[in-house]
Amino acid sequence: MRSNKRQAGKVQKRRRGRWLNRLLSLHGVLGYIFLYAPIVILVIFSFNASRFVSDWRGFTLQWYTRLFGNQAIGAALRNSLIVAGASTLISTVFGTMVALAMERYRFRGKMAFDALLYLPIIIPDISMAVMLLLFFVLAHWNLGLITIIISHVAFNISFVAVVVRARLAYFDISLEEAAQDLYANEWQTFRRVTLPLIMPGILGGALLAFTLSIDDFVITFFTAGPGSTTLPLRIYSMVKLGVTPEINALSSMMLLASMGLVFLSLMLQKGGKGGMDIV
Protein backbone atom coordinates (compact mmCIF):
# COMPACT_ATOMS: atom_id res chain seq x y z
CA MET A 1 0.00 0.00 0.00
CA ARG A 2 2.64 2.44 1.05
CA SER A 3 4.79 1.72 -1.94
CA ASN A 4 1.71 2.25 -4.08
CA LYS A 5 1.22 5.61 -2.51
CA ARG A 6 4.82 6.51 -3.11
CA GLN A 7 4.46 5.43 -6.71
CA ALA A 8 1.45 7.68 -7.04
CA GLY A 9 3.43 10.53 -5.54
CA LYS A 10 6.20 9.97 -8.03
CA VAL A 11 3.79 9.98 -10.93
CA GLN A 12 2.30 13.19 -9.63
CA LYS A 13 5.75 14.72 -9.34
CA ARG A 14 6.63 13.69 -12.85
CA ARG A 15 3.35 15.21 -14.01
CA ARG A 16 4.31 18.40 -12.27
CA GLY A 17 7.63 18.31 -14.10
CA ARG A 18 5.86 17.98 -17.42
CA TRP A 19 3.57 20.81 -16.41
CA LEU A 20 6.60 22.98 -15.59
CA ASN A 21 8.10 22.14 -18.96
CA ARG A 22 4.89 23.18 -20.69
CA LEU A 23 4.91 26.44 -18.76
CA LEU A 24 8.49 27.04 -19.87
CA SER A 25 7.58 26.38 -23.49
CA LEU A 26 4.59 28.69 -23.19
CA HIS A 27 6.89 31.37 -21.79
CA GLY A 28 9.25 30.83 -24.69
CA VAL A 29 6.47 31.20 -27.24
CA LEU A 30 5.12 34.32 -25.52
CA GLY A 31 8.63 35.75 -25.31
CA TYR A 32 9.10 35.42 -29.04
CA ILE A 33 5.65 36.85 -29.71
CA PHE A 34 6.65 39.86 -27.59
CA LEU A 35 9.84 40.22 -29.64
CA TYR A 36 8.18 39.87 -33.02
CA ALA A 37 4.69 41.31 -32.70
CA PRO A 38 5.77 44.96 -32.91
CA ILE A 39 7.99 44.25 -35.90
CA VAL A 40 5.29 42.27 -37.69
CA ILE A 41 2.75 45.03 -37.04
CA LEU A 42 5.20 47.55 -38.40
CA VAL A 43 5.67 45.57 -41.60
CA ILE A 44 1.94 44.87 -42.06
CA PHE A 45 1.01 48.52 -41.78
CA SER A 46 3.69 49.50 -44.27
CA PHE A 47 1.35 47.97 -46.86
CA ASN A 48 -1.69 49.83 -45.52
CA ALA A 49 -3.55 51.90 -48.11
CA SER A 50 -4.75 54.36 -45.44
CA ARG A 51 -2.73 57.42 -44.57
CA PHE A 52 -3.54 56.77 -40.94
CA VAL A 53 -1.31 54.03 -39.73
CA SER A 54 -3.61 52.11 -37.39
CA ASP A 55 -6.56 52.01 -39.72
CA TRP A 56 -6.39 49.15 -42.24
CA ARG A 57 -7.77 50.16 -45.66
CA GLY A 58 -6.40 47.48 -47.96
CA PHE A 59 -3.08 46.55 -49.52
CA THR A 60 -0.79 48.97 -51.34
CA LEU A 61 2.83 49.37 -52.34
CA GLN A 62 2.56 53.12 -52.71
CA TRP A 63 4.62 53.89 -49.60
CA TYR A 64 7.51 51.89 -50.97
CA THR A 65 7.36 53.58 -54.37
CA ARG A 66 7.18 56.90 -52.64
CA LEU A 67 10.16 55.92 -50.49
CA PHE A 68 12.29 55.13 -53.52
CA GLY A 69 11.37 58.46 -55.02
CA ASN A 70 12.31 60.37 -51.88
CA GLN A 71 15.59 62.13 -52.56
CA ALA A 72 16.14 63.20 -48.96
CA ILE A 73 16.08 59.56 -47.89
CA GLY A 74 18.40 58.63 -50.72
CA ALA A 75 20.86 61.27 -49.56
CA ALA A 76 20.55 60.11 -45.95
CA LEU A 77 21.21 56.52 -47.01
CA ARG A 78 24.27 57.65 -48.93
CA ASN A 79 25.56 59.55 -45.89
CA SER A 80 24.92 56.57 -43.63
CA LEU A 81 26.86 54.27 -45.94
CA ILE A 82 29.76 56.72 -46.21
CA VAL A 83 29.93 57.12 -42.42
CA ALA A 84 29.56 53.41 -41.68
CA GLY A 85 31.98 52.37 -44.43
CA ALA A 86 34.71 54.83 -43.47
CA SER A 87 34.42 54.36 -39.72
CA THR A 88 34.30 50.56 -40.08
CA LEU A 89 37.42 50.53 -42.23
CA ILE A 90 39.43 52.78 -39.91
CA SER A 91 38.27 51.23 -36.66
CA THR A 92 38.75 47.65 -37.90
CA VAL A 93 42.39 48.29 -38.84
CA PHE A 94 43.18 50.26 -35.68
CA GLY A 95 41.14 47.99 -33.41
CA THR A 96 42.81 44.84 -34.73
CA MET A 97 46.24 46.37 -34.28
CA VAL A 98 45.54 47.40 -30.72
CA ALA A 99 43.99 43.99 -29.96
CA LEU A 100 47.21 42.31 -31.08
CA ALA A 101 49.25 44.64 -28.90
CA MET A 102 47.08 44.09 -25.84
CA GLU A 103 46.99 40.29 -26.16
CA ARG A 104 50.66 39.82 -26.99
CA TYR A 105 52.64 42.36 -25.02
CA ARG A 106 53.14 43.42 -21.47
CA PHE A 107 54.16 47.02 -21.03
CA ARG A 108 54.09 49.86 -18.57
CA GLY A 109 50.80 51.73 -18.41
CA LYS A 110 48.92 48.82 -19.93
CA MET A 111 46.26 48.84 -17.22
CA ALA A 112 45.52 52.52 -17.83
CA PHE A 113 45.38 52.00 -21.57
CA ASP A 114 43.09 49.01 -21.07
CA ALA A 115 40.72 51.19 -19.06
CA LEU A 116 40.80 53.90 -21.73
CA LEU A 117 40.00 51.24 -24.30
CA TYR A 118 36.97 49.97 -22.40
CA LEU A 119 35.59 53.37 -21.41
CA PRO A 120 33.88 54.21 -24.73
CA ILE A 121 31.88 50.96 -24.42
CA ILE A 122 30.73 51.69 -20.89
CA ILE A 123 30.00 55.42 -21.17
CA PRO A 124 26.43 56.22 -22.20
CA ASP A 125 25.81 57.44 -25.74
CA ILE A 126 24.48 60.75 -24.55
CA SER A 127 27.56 61.55 -22.47
CA MET A 128 29.90 60.68 -25.29
CA ALA A 129 27.79 62.70 -27.72
CA VAL A 130 27.97 65.74 -25.46
CA MET A 131 31.72 65.41 -25.00
CA LEU A 132 32.38 65.25 -28.71
CA LEU A 133 30.03 68.13 -29.50
CA LEU A 134 31.79 70.35 -26.97
CA PHE A 135 35.17 69.34 -28.33
CA PHE A 136 34.26 70.07 -31.93
CA VAL A 137 32.57 73.36 -31.06
CA LEU A 138 35.45 74.61 -28.94
CA ALA A 139 37.98 73.49 -31.55
CA HIS A 140 35.94 75.42 -34.16
CA TRP A 141 35.50 72.40 -36.38
CA ASN A 142 32.65 72.46 -38.85
CA LEU A 143 30.20 69.73 -37.99
CA GLY A 144 29.58 67.34 -40.87
CA LEU A 145 30.38 63.89 -42.19
CA ILE A 146 34.01 64.14 -41.05
CA THR A 147 33.09 64.85 -37.44
CA ILE A 148 30.55 62.01 -37.49
CA ILE A 149 33.13 59.59 -38.85
CA ILE A 150 35.70 60.68 -36.25
CA SER A 151 33.15 60.14 -33.47
CA HIS A 152 32.09 56.74 -34.76
CA VAL A 153 35.70 55.58 -34.98
CA ALA A 154 36.19 56.76 -31.40
CA PHE A 155 33.65 54.23 -30.09
CA ASN A 156 34.12 51.52 -32.74
CA ILE A 157 37.84 50.98 -32.08
CA SER A 158 36.90 49.65 -28.65
CA PHE A 159 34.21 47.29 -29.93
CA VAL A 160 36.45 45.89 -32.66
CA ALA A 161 39.29 45.46 -30.16
CA VAL A 162 37.04 43.52 -27.76
CA VAL A 163 35.83 41.14 -30.47
CA VAL A 164 39.29 40.54 -31.94
CA ARG A 165 40.82 40.08 -28.48
CA ALA A 166 38.24 37.43 -27.68
CA ARG A 167 39.39 35.57 -30.77
CA LEU A 168 43.06 36.06 -29.96
CA ALA A 169 42.58 34.91 -26.38
CA TYR A 170 42.08 31.33 -27.45
CA PHE A 171 44.55 31.46 -30.28
CA ASP A 172 47.10 28.68 -29.85
CA ILE A 173 50.43 30.50 -29.66
CA SER A 174 52.34 27.34 -30.61
CA LEU A 175 50.94 27.74 -34.14
CA GLU A 176 52.99 30.91 -34.49
CA GLU A 177 56.01 29.18 -33.01
CA ALA A 178 55.54 26.35 -35.49
CA ALA A 179 55.54 28.85 -38.36
CA GLN A 180 58.71 30.50 -37.08
CA ASP A 181 60.26 27.11 -36.60
CA LEU A 182 59.48 26.48 -40.28
CA TYR A 183 61.50 29.51 -41.40
CA ALA A 184 58.68 32.08 -41.56
CA ASN A 185 59.79 35.49 -40.27
CA GLU A 186 57.49 37.64 -38.11
CA TRP A 187 55.67 39.22 -41.03
CA GLN A 188 55.24 35.92 -42.90
CA THR A 189 54.00 34.31 -39.69
CA PHE A 190 51.40 37.05 -39.31
CA ARG A 191 50.30 36.98 -42.95
CA ARG A 192 50.17 33.20 -43.37
CA VAL A 193 49.11 31.95 -39.94
CA THR A 194 47.85 34.58 -37.49
CA LEU A 195 45.79 36.72 -39.85
CA PRO A 196 43.87 33.89 -41.57
CA LEU A 197 43.08 32.32 -38.20
CA ILE A 198 41.79 35.49 -36.54
CA MET A 199 40.03 36.64 -39.71
CA PRO A 200 36.57 35.53 -38.52
CA GLY A 201 37.11 37.65 -35.41
CA ILE A 202 38.19 40.65 -37.47
CA LEU A 203 35.22 40.30 -39.82
CA GLY A 204 32.92 39.88 -36.82
CA GLY A 205 34.35 43.04 -35.31
CA ALA A 206 33.96 44.88 -38.60
CA LEU A 207 30.36 43.75 -38.90
CA LEU A 208 29.61 44.90 -35.37
CA ALA A 209 31.28 48.25 -36.07
CA PHE A 210 29.28 48.65 -39.27
CA THR A 211 26.01 47.86 -37.50
CA LEU A 212 26.73 50.17 -34.57
CA SER A 213 27.70 52.95 -36.93
CA ILE A 214 24.75 52.65 -39.28
CA ASP A 215 22.32 52.34 -36.34
CA ASP A 216 23.74 55.10 -34.20
CA PHE A 217 21.41 57.97 -33.55
CA VAL A 218 22.46 59.88 -30.43
CA ILE A 219 26.15 60.49 -31.14
CA THR A 220 25.47 61.18 -34.81
CA PHE A 221 22.70 63.61 -33.86
CA PHE A 222 25.10 65.70 -31.78
CA THR A 223 28.03 65.62 -34.19
CA ALA A 224 26.12 66.08 -37.46
CA GLY A 225 25.94 69.36 -39.31
CA PRO A 226 23.81 70.65 -42.15
CA GLY A 227 23.82 68.28 -45.11
CA SER A 228 25.19 65.32 -43.17
CA THR A 229 21.86 63.80 -42.14
CA THR A 230 22.08 60.01 -41.84
CA LEU A 231 19.25 57.52 -42.07
CA PRO A 232 18.49 57.30 -38.33
CA LEU A 233 18.49 61.10 -38.13
CA ARG A 234 16.07 61.21 -41.07
CA ILE A 235 13.77 58.66 -39.44
CA TYR A 236 13.88 60.55 -36.18
CA SER A 237 12.83 63.84 -37.76
CA MET A 238 10.09 62.05 -39.72
CA VAL A 239 8.77 60.42 -36.53
CA LYS A 240 8.88 63.76 -34.75
CA LEU A 241 6.74 65.27 -37.53
CA GLY A 242 4.17 62.52 -37.25
CA VAL A 243 3.64 58.82 -37.73
CA THR A 244 3.19 57.95 -41.41
CA PRO A 245 3.12 54.67 -43.33
CA GLU A 246 6.18 55.89 -45.19
CA ILE A 247 8.21 55.50 -41.98
CA ASN A 248 6.81 51.99 -41.71
CA ALA A 249 8.03 51.24 -45.22
CA LEU A 250 11.46 52.67 -44.45
CA SER A 251 11.63 50.73 -41.17
CA SER A 252 10.66 47.53 -42.94
CA MET A 253 13.47 48.03 -45.42
CA MET A 254 15.91 48.55 -42.58
CA LEU A 255 14.59 45.43 -40.90
CA LEU A 256 15.28 43.48 -44.07
CA ALA A 257 18.81 44.90 -44.18
CA SER A 258 19.53 43.94 -40.57
CA MET A 259 18.23 40.41 -41.22
CA GLY A 260 20.76 40.26 -44.04
CA LEU A 261 23.47 41.34 -41.60
CA VAL A 262 22.44 38.64 -39.11
CA PHE A 263 22.77 35.95 -41.76
CA LEU A 264 26.11 37.41 -42.81
CA SER A 265 27.38 37.24 -39.25
CA LEU A 266 26.08 33.69 -38.95
CA MET A 267 28.01 32.68 -42.04
CA LEU A 268 31.13 34.29 -40.59
CA GLN A 269 30.70 32.28 -37.40
CA LYS A 270 30.31 29.08 -39.41
CA GLY A 271 33.41 29.93 -41.41
CA GLY A 272 35.23 30.59 -38.17
CA LYS A 273 34.26 27.24 -36.71
CA GLY A 274 35.96 25.32 -39.48
CA GLY A 275 39.21 26.98 -38.58
CA MET A 276 38.83 26.41 -34.85
CA ASP A 277 38.27 22.64 -34.89
CA ILE A 278 41.72 21.81 -33.68
CA VAL A 279 41.74 24.39 -30.93
Binding site: R16, L24, H27, G28, G31, Y32, F34, L35, Y36, P38, I39, I41, L42, F52, S54, D55, F94, M97, V98, A101, M102, R104, Y105, R106, F107, F113, P120, I122, P124, D125, I126, S127, M128, V130, M131, L132, L133, L134, F135, V153, A154, I157, S158, T211, D215, F217, V218, F222, I235, Y236, V239, V243, N248, S251, M254, L255, S258, L261, V262, S265
Partner: protein, 303 residues
Protein backbone atom coordinates in the same frame (compact mmCIF):
# COMPACT_ATOMS: atom_id res chain seq x y z
CA UNK B 1 52.79 37.35 -23.39
CA UNK B 2 55.99 39.07 -24.16
CA UNK B 3 57.79 41.57 -22.01
CA UNK B 4 59.29 44.33 -24.03
CA UNK B 5 62.99 43.58 -24.20
CA UNK B 6 64.43 44.78 -27.45
CA UNK B 7 64.14 48.08 -29.29
CA UNK B 8 62.59 46.19 -32.19
CA UNK B 9 59.76 44.90 -30.01
CA UNK B 10 59.22 48.33 -28.50
CA UNK B 11 58.90 49.81 -31.98
CA UNK B 12 56.44 47.13 -33.03
CA UNK B 13 54.32 47.74 -29.94
CA UNK B 14 54.38 51.46 -30.59
CA UNK B 15 53.31 50.89 -34.20
CA UNK B 16 50.40 48.70 -33.07
CA UNK B 17 48.98 50.94 -30.37
CA UNK B 18 49.78 54.48 -31.49
CA UNK B 19 46.89 54.97 -33.97
CA UNK B 20 44.29 53.89 -31.41
CA UNK B 21 46.08 55.65 -28.60
CA UNK B 22 46.14 58.87 -30.58
CA UNK B 23 42.48 58.58 -31.55
CA UNK B 24 41.27 57.73 -28.07
CA UNK B 25 43.28 60.46 -26.42
CA UNK B 26 42.36 63.23 -28.87
CA UNK B 27 38.77 62.27 -29.57
CA UNK B 28 37.82 60.69 -26.28
CA UNK B 29 40.04 61.53 -23.36
CA UNK B 30 40.53 65.23 -24.16
CA UNK B 31 36.77 65.74 -24.71
CA UNK B 32 36.18 63.90 -21.41
CA UNK B 33 38.50 66.30 -19.58
CA UNK B 34 36.85 69.17 -21.41
CA UNK B 35 33.40 68.20 -20.13
CA UNK B 36 34.84 67.84 -16.66
CA UNK B 37 36.42 71.30 -16.83
CA UNK B 38 33.34 72.95 -18.28
CA UNK B 39 31.10 71.42 -15.63
CA UNK B 40 32.75 73.84 -13.17
CA UNK B 41 32.16 76.82 -15.48
CA UNK B 42 29.26 79.17 -15.99
CA UNK B 43 26.86 79.77 -18.83
CA UNK B 44 27.78 82.87 -20.84
CA UNK B 45 25.23 85.52 -21.68
CA UNK B 46 24.75 84.27 -25.25
CA UNK B 47 25.21 80.57 -24.62
CA UNK B 48 28.86 79.67 -24.67
CA UNK B 49 30.99 79.10 -21.58
CA UNK B 50 32.49 81.45 -19.00
CA UNK B 51 35.54 79.80 -17.50
CA UNK B 52 35.14 80.26 -13.78
CA UNK B 53 35.60 77.67 -11.09
CA UNK B 54 32.47 76.96 -9.07
CA UNK B 55 30.36 74.07 -7.91
CA UNK B 56 27.09 75.80 -8.76
CA UNK B 57 26.21 73.29 -11.51
CA UNK B 58 26.61 70.33 -9.18
CA UNK B 59 24.62 72.11 -6.48
CA UNK B 60 21.88 72.73 -9.00
CA UNK B 61 21.73 69.05 -9.78
CA UNK B 62 20.46 68.53 -6.23
CA UNK B 63 17.44 70.77 -6.82
CA UNK B 64 14.27 68.79 -6.15
CA UNK B 65 13.32 69.11 -9.83
CA UNK B 66 16.44 67.35 -11.10
CA UNK B 67 16.66 64.97 -8.16
CA UNK B 68 13.12 63.81 -8.96
CA UNK B 69 14.10 63.20 -12.59
CA UNK B 70 17.21 61.37 -11.48
CA UNK B 71 15.12 59.29 -9.10
CA UNK B 72 12.69 58.44 -11.88
CA UNK B 73 15.62 57.51 -14.11
CA UNK B 74 16.93 55.11 -11.47
CA UNK B 75 13.45 53.68 -10.94
CA UNK B 76 12.85 53.15 -14.67
CA UNK B 77 16.28 51.57 -15.18
CA UNK B 78 15.79 49.27 -12.18
CA UNK B 79 12.29 48.26 -13.25
CA UNK B 80 13.54 47.60 -16.77
CA UNK B 81 16.34 45.42 -15.45
CA UNK B 82 14.06 43.41 -13.16
CA UNK B 83 11.45 42.83 -15.86
CA UNK B 84 14.15 41.89 -18.36
CA UNK B 85 15.49 39.40 -15.84
CA UNK B 86 12.07 37.90 -15.08
CA UNK B 87 11.29 37.55 -18.77
CA UNK B 88 14.80 36.92 -20.04
CA UNK B 89 16.09 34.23 -17.69
CA UNK B 90 13.27 31.75 -18.32
CA UNK B 91 13.52 32.54 -22.02
CA UNK B 92 17.26 31.81 -21.94
CA UNK B 93 16.52 28.62 -20.00
CA UNK B 94 13.92 27.67 -22.59
CA UNK B 95 16.39 28.16 -25.45
CA UNK B 96 19.23 26.37 -23.67
CA UNK B 97 17.11 23.29 -22.99
CA UNK B 98 16.01 22.82 -26.60
CA UNK B 99 17.77 20.26 -28.83
CA UNK B 100 20.93 21.80 -30.38
CA UNK B 101 19.46 22.28 -33.85
CA UNK B 102 16.45 24.16 -32.51
CA UNK B 103 18.67 26.11 -30.17
CA UNK B 104 20.51 27.77 -33.05
CA UNK B 105 17.24 28.66 -34.75
CA UNK B 106 15.93 30.25 -31.55
CA UNK B 107 19.16 32.18 -31.08
CA UNK B 108 18.94 33.41 -34.65
CA UNK B 109 15.38 34.58 -34.00
CA UNK B 110 16.69 36.43 -30.97
CA UNK B 111 19.47 38.08 -32.97
CA UNK B 112 17.24 39.61 -35.63
CA UNK B 113 15.50 42.14 -33.34
CA UNK B 114 18.86 42.63 -31.60
CA UNK B 115 20.47 43.80 -34.83
CA UNK B 116 17.53 45.92 -35.90
CA UNK B 117 17.87 49.67 -35.56
CA UNK B 118 16.96 50.82 -32.06
CA UNK B 119 15.01 53.76 -33.39
CA UNK B 120 12.92 51.48 -35.59
CA UNK B 121 12.20 49.18 -32.65
CA UNK B 122 11.12 52.10 -30.50
CA UNK B 123 9.01 53.48 -33.33
CA UNK B 124 7.19 50.15 -33.54
CA UNK B 125 6.02 50.62 -29.95
CA UNK B 126 4.96 54.16 -30.73
CA UNK B 127 2.63 52.66 -33.33
CA UNK B 128 1.12 50.42 -30.69
CA UNK B 129 1.00 52.67 -27.64
CA UNK B 130 0.14 56.17 -28.83
CA UNK B 131 -3.35 57.66 -28.36
CA UNK B 132 -4.35 56.79 -31.93
CA UNK B 133 -2.26 53.63 -31.78
CA UNK B 134 -3.16 50.04 -32.33
CA UNK B 135 -4.30 49.30 -28.79
CA UNK B 136 -6.43 52.41 -28.52
CA UNK B 137 -7.89 51.93 -31.99
CA UNK B 138 -9.14 48.59 -30.79
CA UNK B 139 -10.16 49.95 -27.37
CA UNK B 140 -12.24 52.88 -28.58
CA UNK B 141 -13.15 51.25 -31.88
CA UNK B 142 -14.05 47.58 -32.13
CA UNK B 143 -14.32 47.00 -28.38
CA UNK B 144 -16.45 50.07 -27.75
CA UNK B 145 -18.74 49.27 -30.70
CA UNK B 146 -19.03 45.66 -29.63
CA UNK B 147 -19.99 46.65 -26.09
CA UNK B 148 -22.49 49.15 -27.47
CA UNK B 149 -24.19 46.44 -29.50
CA UNK B 150 -24.17 44.04 -26.56
CA UNK B 151 -25.76 46.69 -24.35
CA UNK B 152 -28.55 47.13 -26.89
CA UNK B 153 -29.19 43.38 -27.01
CA UNK B 154 -29.03 42.89 -23.24
CA UNK B 155 -29.80 46.14 -21.48
CA UNK B 156 -28.05 45.60 -18.12
CA UNK B 157 -26.45 48.16 -15.80
CA UNK B 158 -22.99 46.48 -16.06
CA UNK B 159 -22.39 47.95 -19.55
CA UNK B 160 -22.51 51.52 -18.32
CA UNK B 161 -19.03 51.74 -16.69
CA UNK B 162 -17.48 49.61 -19.44
CA UNK B 163 -18.87 51.87 -22.12
CA UNK B 164 -17.65 54.89 -20.28
CA UNK B 165 -14.16 53.35 -19.96
CA UNK B 166 -13.88 52.49 -23.62
CA UNK B 167 -15.20 55.82 -24.79
CA UNK B 168 -11.84 57.47 -24.23
CA UNK B 169 -8.38 56.18 -25.19
CA UNK B 170 -6.16 54.66 -22.50
CA UNK B 171 -3.23 56.75 -21.37
CA UNK B 172 -0.35 54.57 -22.46
CA UNK B 173 1.83 56.99 -24.33
CA UNK B 174 3.81 59.41 -22.20
CA UNK B 175 3.93 57.22 -19.11
CA UNK B 176 6.81 55.63 -17.24
CA UNK B 177 5.23 52.31 -18.20
CA UNK B 178 5.56 53.09 -21.89
CA UNK B 179 9.25 53.93 -21.41
CA UNK B 180 9.79 50.70 -19.46
CA UNK B 181 8.09 48.63 -22.16
CA UNK B 182 10.22 50.31 -24.81
CA UNK B 183 13.43 49.75 -22.84
CA UNK B 184 12.58 46.14 -22.02
CA UNK B 185 11.91 45.55 -25.69
CA UNK B 186 15.15 47.25 -26.62
CA UNK B 187 17.42 45.49 -24.17
CA UNK B 188 15.82 42.06 -23.65
CA UNK B 189 18.32 40.29 -25.95
CA UNK B 190 21.14 41.82 -23.88
CA UNK B 191 19.74 39.97 -20.89
CA UNK B 192 18.94 36.72 -22.65
CA UNK B 193 22.30 36.20 -24.35
CA UNK B 194 24.55 36.21 -21.25
CA UNK B 195 22.01 34.15 -19.29
CA UNK B 196 21.84 31.72 -22.18
CA UNK B 197 25.63 31.49 -22.32
CA UNK B 198 25.73 30.65 -18.61
CA UNK B 199 22.90 28.13 -18.72
CA UNK B 200 24.24 26.48 -21.85
CA UNK B 201 27.60 25.98 -20.15
CA UNK B 202 25.87 24.52 -17.11
CA UNK B 203 26.34 20.78 -16.67
CA UNK B 204 22.86 19.36 -16.12
CA UNK B 205 24.22 16.17 -14.60
CA UNK B 206 24.77 18.36 -11.52
CA UNK B 207 20.99 18.59 -11.20
CA UNK B 208 20.81 14.82 -11.29
CA UNK B 209 23.49 14.75 -8.60
CA UNK B 210 21.45 17.20 -6.50
CA UNK B 211 18.28 15.18 -6.97
CA UNK B 212 20.19 12.03 -6.12
CA UNK B 213 21.06 13.83 -2.87
CA UNK B 214 17.36 14.36 -2.12
CA UNK B 215 16.94 17.92 -3.47
CA UNK B 216 13.57 18.57 -5.05
CA UNK B 217 13.12 20.64 -8.21
CA UNK B 218 12.83 23.92 -6.39
CA UNK B 219 15.83 23.23 -4.19
CA UNK B 220 18.00 22.04 -7.07
CA UNK B 221 17.14 25.19 -8.99
CA UNK B 222 17.80 27.56 -6.11
CA UNK B 223 20.85 25.76 -4.73
CA UNK B 224 22.55 24.50 -7.90
CA UNK B 225 21.35 26.00 -11.18
CA UNK B 226 20.85 29.59 -10.11
CA UNK B 227 24.17 30.05 -8.25
CA UNK B 228 26.10 28.50 -11.11
CA UNK B 229 24.45 30.72 -13.72
CA UNK B 230 24.70 33.85 -11.58
CA UNK B 231 27.52 35.22 -13.74
CA UNK B 232 25.11 35.40 -16.67
CA UNK B 233 22.44 37.06 -14.52
CA UNK B 234 24.88 39.70 -13.28
CA UNK B 235 26.35 40.34 -16.72
CA UNK B 236 22.89 40.62 -18.27
CA UNK B 237 21.69 42.96 -15.53
CA UNK B 238 24.65 45.28 -16.04
CA UNK B 239 24.17 45.19 -19.81
CA UNK B 240 20.53 46.24 -19.36
CA UNK B 241 20.80 48.62 -16.41
CA UNK B 242 23.64 50.78 -17.72
CA UNK B 243 22.20 51.71 -21.11
CA UNK B 244 18.74 52.12 -19.56
CA UNK B 245 20.19 54.68 -17.18
CA UNK B 246 21.55 56.73 -20.07
CA UNK B 247 18.52 56.24 -22.32
CA UNK B 248 17.55 59.16 -24.50
CA UNK B 249 15.66 57.93 -27.56
CA UNK B 250 13.10 55.79 -25.71
CA UNK B 251 11.91 58.46 -23.23
CA UNK B 252 12.00 61.02 -26.02
CA UNK B 253 9.72 59.01 -28.30
CA UNK B 254 7.55 57.12 -25.81
CA UNK B 255 7.69 59.37 -22.76
CA UNK B 256 6.44 62.51 -24.44
CA UNK B 257 6.79 65.75 -22.51
CA UNK B 258 5.55 64.37 -19.20
CA UNK B 259 7.88 61.50 -18.51
CA UNK B 260 11.52 62.47 -18.97
CA UNK B 261 14.78 60.91 -17.89
CA UNK B 262 18.24 62.26 -17.18
CA UNK B 263 19.28 61.76 -20.80
CA UNK B 264 16.58 64.21 -21.89
CA UNK B 265 17.83 66.76 -19.36
CA UNK B 266 21.32 66.59 -20.84
CA UNK B 267 19.89 66.86 -24.33
CA UNK B 268 17.80 69.91 -23.56
CA UNK B 269 20.67 71.68 -21.78
CA UNK B 270 22.78 71.37 -24.90
CA UNK B 271 20.22 71.69 -27.67
CA UNK B 272 17.59 73.97 -26.19
CA UNK B 273 18.82 75.87 -23.10
CA UNK B 274 22.40 76.13 -24.41
CA UNK B 275 23.63 75.78 -20.84
CA UNK B 276 26.76 73.75 -21.61
CA UNK B 277 28.22 73.89 -18.09
CA UNK B 278 25.10 72.52 -16.40
CA UNK B 279 24.62 69.93 -19.16
CA UNK B 280 28.25 68.86 -18.67
CA UNK B 281 27.77 68.53 -14.93
CA UNK B 282 24.66 66.35 -15.35
CA UNK B 283 26.44 64.27 -17.97
CA UNK B 284 29.39 63.84 -15.63
CA UNK B 285 27.20 62.67 -12.76
CA UNK B 286 25.59 60.13 -15.08
CA UNK B 287 29.00 58.86 -16.16
CA UNK B 288 30.20 58.64 -12.56
CA UNK B 289 27.16 56.58 -11.51
CA UNK B 290 27.65 54.27 -14.44
CA UNK B 291 31.37 53.82 -13.85
CA UNK B 292 30.69 53.06 -10.20
CA UNK B 293 28.16 50.44 -11.25
CA UNK B 294 30.61 48.89 -13.69
CA UNK B 295 33.36 48.79 -11.09
CA UNK B 296 31.07 47.06 -8.63
CA UNK B 297 30.23 44.56 -11.35
CA UNK B 298 33.91 43.80 -12.02
CA UNK B 299 34.56 43.51 -8.29
CA UNK B 300 31.79 40.99 -7.78
CA UNK B 301 32.66 39.26 -11.03
CA UNK B 302 36.13 38.48 -9.77
CA UNK B 303 34.91 36.54 -6.78
Amino acid sequence: MTHIRSRREALRLLFLISPSLFWLIVFFFVPLLLVFAISFGERGTYGGVRWVLNLENYRRFFDPLYLRIFGRTLYIAAATTIICLLVGYPLAYFIATRPPRWRNAFLLLLMIPFWTNFLVRTYAWLLILRDKGLINTFWTGSLHMGLLQLSRLLPLPIWEPLLRATANPLTLFGTDGAIIIGLVYGWLPDMVLPCYAAIERFDFSLVEAAQDLYANRRQSFLRVILPMTMSGVVAGSVLVFIPSLGAYVTPDLLGGAKSIMIGNVIYSQFMAARDYPFGSAVSFVLMAVMLAGTLIYFRTGRE
